[in-house]
Symmetry: C2
Subunit: 444 residues, 2 copies
């Protein structure tokens, strides 16, 4: 009998959800360095939002427990070995992509304070944090993985030991069945993008290691920097909506031209910092259709794009048409599909777009990559023996709310994903138009 283990298991004070500051998406460092270089004095506000209104997180999660987890994150510092890894790795063939002074900034990073409460009416958790954009940006992934995992723990606290046993057995079997299907796909290029909405750290680790084993070379890495370091995987990442949202919000009020141009200006700043495989644009912040219609020729020189809110086939066709219009061969371009991807397996409806069907649709016409997120690292649908939907993933985001005091807006290709104050959304829609936008159920 391992007495120490048993005593610890029954009394340990806290099970930290975020183990280290490196336990975050790699794109936070990529974006972070650009923000630090180009926007060192700009301030930002980030706020949590649960788009799955039916799950009243505030009623499920103990606020003191949440605060304890978030304060634990604030107590963390980047470790020497982590900074050496960040500085020393070659990412996408580029050496020294992080400058010594940015590494030094990370060494001294302290996460800013935050406000936390429960909104009684909606039953949702209100989390807001404000500070230097280059610092506050890091909260995004930590708060998402903390809140998601606390919600899962709250559900699992109501389960018996053998219910938990069958829960994990079923989740393992589902994961394995998906990977076995993917293993049969030729020329697959799949990366874990599941940190923010994972079931938990250890489960994400299980998913990644199993994916590496079953998929071999087709599994090209993870967006999780800590797991990449720990297991010798490639760290992968692109960039996110916060960049164009912030650049738009930083425009002078009522300067519509600055607004319309923000989505391209961010790419100019980005290509000033990065090269090659890192030149993957996100077209949908203010609508993909207008983005592509008005894009300058140089945008077509970028390596690829990551559509994020249109149905994959529609988005991909629009991108291919764009490159063709720009007289560029789409077969040399890369599309990374990462929005609500899943794999259909017998007995379960996919909770998102089927990776294999999308691969089948585009193969040979364009280079393909898949960033597989929630449904890789958090598929427990149908696994709870008494309540199949008890652990259904929720659509939780932590979005830029304001930059230097100006409200930030996202339009997206999907009306239900738009964020920002109504009058500002109105103004943005006037500037950008709504061509090509539609209503799609947001699953994850």
């Amino acid at each position: 009998m391992d007495f120490a283990r048993r005593a610890w298991d029954h009394s340990f004070p806290m099970d930290p959800i975020v183990r280290t500051l490196l336990d975050t998406d790699f794109y936070k460092f990529l974006m972070g360095q650009m923000i630090w270089e180009k926007h060192f004095n700009d301030e930002a506000t980030f706020a949590l939002a649960n788009r799955t209104k039916s799950v009243r997180l505030g009623d499920m999660i103990d606020l003191d427990e949440l605060r304890e987890q978030l304060d634990h994150v604030r107590s963390l510092r980047f470790l020497a070995n982590e900074l050496i890894w960040l500085r020393g790795q070659t990412f996408y063939g580029q050496e020294g992509m992080f400058s010594p002074s940015y590494i030094d900034f990370l060494r001294r990073l302290r996460l800013p304070d935050y406000e936390l409460r429960v909104d009684a009416e909606s039953g949702q958790i209100v989390f807001e944090t404000h500070g230097r954009w280059a610092e506050v940006t890091f909260w995004e992934i930590y708060v998402l993985s903390v809140v998601n995992e606390l919600r899962n723990r709250a559900v699992m606290k109501t389960m018996g030991r053998s219910q938990l046993d069958i829960l994990y057995a079923r989740a393992k079997v589902k994961l394995y069945a998906k990977l076995e299907r993917l293993a049969k796909v030729e020329d697959l290029n799949l990366t874990d993008f599941g940190t923010r909405r994972r079931h938990g750290f250890l489960w994400q680790e299980h998913c990644i290691l199993t994916a590496r084993e079953v998929l071999g070379e087709a599994f090209t890495g993870t967006s999780n920097a800590f797991l990449a370091l720990k297991h010798g995987l490639e760290a992968r990442g692109t960039n996110a909506h916060e960049l164009p949202m912030a650049l738009a919000a930083l425009c002078p009020p009522q300067d519509d031209e600055c607004l319309a141009n923000a989505q391209y200006k961010v790419l100019q700043q980005w290509q000033n910092s990065y090269r090659g495989g890192l030149l993957v644009f996100l077209p949908d912040t203010f609508g993909t259709t207008q983005f592509l219609a008005n894009a300058p020729q140089w945008v077509s020189n970028w390596t690829g794009a990551r559509p994020d809110s249109k149905l994959p086939v529609d988005a991909g066709e629009e991108l291919i048409a764009f490159w063709e219009r720009m007289a560029v061969d789409p077969r040399e371009k890369l599309i990374i599909f990462s929005d609500g991807m899943d794999v259909e397996i017998p007995g379960f409806a996919p909770n998102g777009s089927d990776i294999i069907a999308v691969h089948e649709h585009f193969k040979g016409r364009v280079r393909l990559g898949f960033g597989w997120g929630t449904m890789l690292t958090n598929d427990f649908l149908g696994c709870h023996p008494a309540d199949p939907d008890a652990l259904k993933p929720i659509s939780l985001v932590c979005k830029l709310k304001a930059a230097n005091g100006h409200p930030a807006v996202k339009l997206s290709d999907n009306y239900s994903k738009a964020t920002g104050p109504a009058e500002e959304v109105e103004r943005y829609r006037r500037v950008f138009g709504v061509h090509g936008a539609s209503e799609v159920p947001t699953l994850v």
Copy 2:
């Protein structure tokens, strides 16, 4: 780090398959007492036989390892607490069913020696043991569970860690899916009969505890005496072919009348020792049809029957017709189905007769019990990620070969299950006839 555990896991000398002499089927004690009372001086020979010829056990199992396990069994003695439990329990409402002197016999029990070798041509293990019937009878279950588990271990030694992980996850999911289906059946009466062909002791324990949790009152116990003691379950059991086989073999040579009568004489001896729920006859040793056709009226007073080699629906209909012919209400009679039972679940063909279909067929017409064996405690079909059939259960038996030097014979309702020397089988078929026998694939 639990250093002791890690060191032990990597170097421990032997993992015993049989943990205690009580780790056997309860019917061995029921039969054992009768043998001890009525046949104390009779001798018996038991031999192992693998009816699944395609699995060459001798090529897979290391003979030294097997010998080590069997010698470990010989080194075991019944423990005081086990004997107290055997003596003190009330079984089927009957107190003190084991006499103090039989308990004393068990206290002094030493298992006889055995012969062991591999037959080079068939690739099968030859195991034979001879001695006082009351002692040698105990070898049956031990040798079966040892050889079955060594075969499973041999397969699992070739598997990687994560292959083993998914193997067990899938087996858990299959088991749970079956139990969930069974939980919906009204008035189910199901007992674990899976000791002899279990995947392993710990897995059987998992199956039993999960069955108890999911099925509640419908799970009425286990045939495994040790697990019944350990978990406060009812120990269940009836009797087996070795009794009529021995009584037939003990007849004077060429005494056909004695032979024809042996199958009823055994019941007379049994009802001399036991009452009530223990009066369950096994009709198929020399063929069910002739057994019922020639049965004296008093056989219909018995509580029920356990058909063991005819398809369940056919066997049940024959039994109901028998009771009706005897002017007995079948609704007061019990049929225990225990031959190759399984439960159909989506995605898998059942490996045997579907318990739910049989229950549906007979409900309301007769009292029903199910002894669920191999496919409860050893269903790993389709669970091995690289080779779905690698752990397919085999039809391994340890049968009475001779009594007092006379060869023992079983005809069975299934030609492929007949045992004994050809000329003796011939003679038995002349005496008993073959009416109602047929060829059915033997799965487990």
